[in-house]
Subunit: 344 residues, 2 copies
């Protein structure tokens, strides 16, 4: 089950999979960016950096959005660009405050679509309780970009008594998933492939900071937060196992997947564990607080489907093992190729 | 001289000039983004936003870089992406601290070029004394982006006793320009057009925060800082005149332009006042501090060519007037069309 991607030097040029959130993305960061840009903050390799500014701990994060199509069931590129960065800040244990937005627009892009995206971003900002405070727009000649790309960055503040870091995963931690997975990726693929299901599968795109604020009340019991976007739950868990040098054990039957999404995954040949989510989070929590944290999540509208899907173990460090539906065990590796280009 | 661009509603689609840093860019922000995203910080329409975080005043800024060609005399897209955002923070009166970088890469982009850009970014970061602490990479299919686009965002801290805002321009202020203009734009155009001059005209791309730190020692005497990038000195002065509801008078003979750049401008048909700079700043300073600030700038390697180019006046509010070389006066309007697409 463990694939061995080529070393980065074997690639003379950038491949789609280098942006896929899996092994090749990790390699690109490790072998191309880190050797030059290495510093103590970048090395955290978290969803954002945690930096000291004026006596406060600030979370700082960025993501570029190149999703295609730009409008999809459950959201659009604007919604995604706001919620995605809000979520990355929340996953650092921060209260998201302010966002920036850089627009790269293809000449000839309809002004009405730009208005619609601006409106979506404002809606998303209001829902998340943050403000978009600065921005930039560049226009490139027709054919030199695909419609519109948006890069948001965000800053948030981390309260005292909060320490959410991938390295804090430790043996015994319960692993809670906030709800059913693979909705976002399948929503996008359905639109692209023109698939019709009985119901429209909509993206789960949502700002998680409201729910995370409830969890942060449990203070240092919250060890790790992660939103399983590109590369899905499988890649997120592998990243955390590697960062903390721990083993992870999950149970296939405990992982919530909606029936329509499972059906679509089967048709499309995808394993839901590798499909992107945009409104879900994984919480690593100290064992004694697990039951209370699970209840707190379930009380929040975005966490009604929360479930404990596994635990951190002392065995098999840096490896994620799944007890399968049929009673076996298998290694769940990181995404190794590119499953869904331009999913976010 | 004053052109009247069409109202934004007249454009069914986004034009190159909407990203040019002139009137149409202003309209796009005012008519498309502000109606939805309006808030007290975005409304500052500064080079960055100044926001309160944990008891500190933080400057937060972003820019997307789509320059073509990506390597040019005097720098590359990586240098530019770091220095540009560092400068935007410095223009808010902040000490730049941390940057984020979002990469949008076209499939097939040479890995060696990506390494070269990462190295440039690190060089620029070290020179500017900042750290790149978080990032993201997306890859789009071949033909869906032009090589590489980089969006940087940055945060910096504003010390007590500093208040640098476009609205602080007031009658009597001296206007200092840090050196000769139009180098960046002409460097890019020369490469694009394959023009050969006796010497290579190189971009002036540089981080200005070191020089600005010297100026900030003059505290509240420093009223406005602005780096005249897209749209050039003419557009920057017009923006400030409009923001502060003041008139501006400049003298053509006082504006430094290097001979080779002036020659190239004549050949290419450009007015240097509208050509982009990437390592220059304009300083509005209280009259009693002007001579000392000028000396401080000239002591810094990036300000040896600094000169007082004009003053803020109580007459003709929101209008920039230039005393011409031949003794006349003319209104210097904002850039109205698109002069140099993809200059940054």
């Amino acid at each position: 089950m463990i694939s061995c991607p080529l070393p980065i030097n074997s690639y003379a040029s950038v491949q789609l999979a280098h942006g896929g959130g899996g092994k090749l993305s990790q390699q690109l960061v490790r072998d191309i960016f880190l050797p030059f840009l290495d510093n103590e903050y970048l090395r955290q390799l978290h969803d954002g950096a945690i930096v000291p500014v004026g006596g406060s701990r600030i979370a700082f994060s960025t993501d570029s959005y190149v999703i295609s199509p730009i409008f999809f069931p459950g959201g659009d590129i604007g919604t995604l660009a706001v919620n995605g960065t809000v979520n990355d800040l929340a996953m650092c244990g921060a209260t998201p405050l302010f966002l920036s937005a850089g627009f790269i627009v293809e000449e000839g892009f309809p002004m009405s679509d730009l208005q619609r995206i601006a409106a979506s971003m404002q809606n998303a900002a209001v829902n998340a309780g943050i403000q978009i405070v600065t921005g930039d727009t560049k226009v490139v000649d027709k054919g030199k970009a695909d419609k519109i790309f948006i890069t948001t960055a965000g800053i948030g503040i981390i309260a005292d008594g909060i320490s959410v870091l991938p390295t804090r995963a430790s043996a015994g931690d319960a692993i809670i998933l906030s709800g059913s997975i693979a909705q976002h990726g399948i929503a996008i693929m359905s639109v692209r492939e023109g698939l019709q299901f009985e119901t429209t599968i909509a993206s789960d795109c949502a700002a998680l900071n409201g729910m995370i604020a409830e969890l942060l009340k449990f203070g240092e019991s919250i060890h790790v937060l992660r939103d399983p976007t590109r590369g899905g739950v499988a890649s997120a868990l592998n990243e955390i196992a590697a960062a903390a040098h721990v083993g992870i054990e999950i149970e296939e039957t405990a992982i919530p997947v909606a029936d329509d999404v499972r059906g679509a995954c089967e048709i499309l040949g995808f394993d839901p564990l590798y499909v992107a989510n945009e409104g879900k989070c994984i919480v690593f929590v100290a064992p004694d607080a697990a039951a209370d944290v699970l209840q707190a999540m379930r009380r929040h509208p975005l966490g009604t489907g929360a479930a404990i899907i596994g635990h951190v173990v002392a065995d098999h460090p840096e490896t994620v093992v799944m007890k399968t539906r049929v009673g076996g065990k298998r290694v769940v590796d990181m995404l190794s190729g590119e499953q869904l280009p331009r999913i976010c």
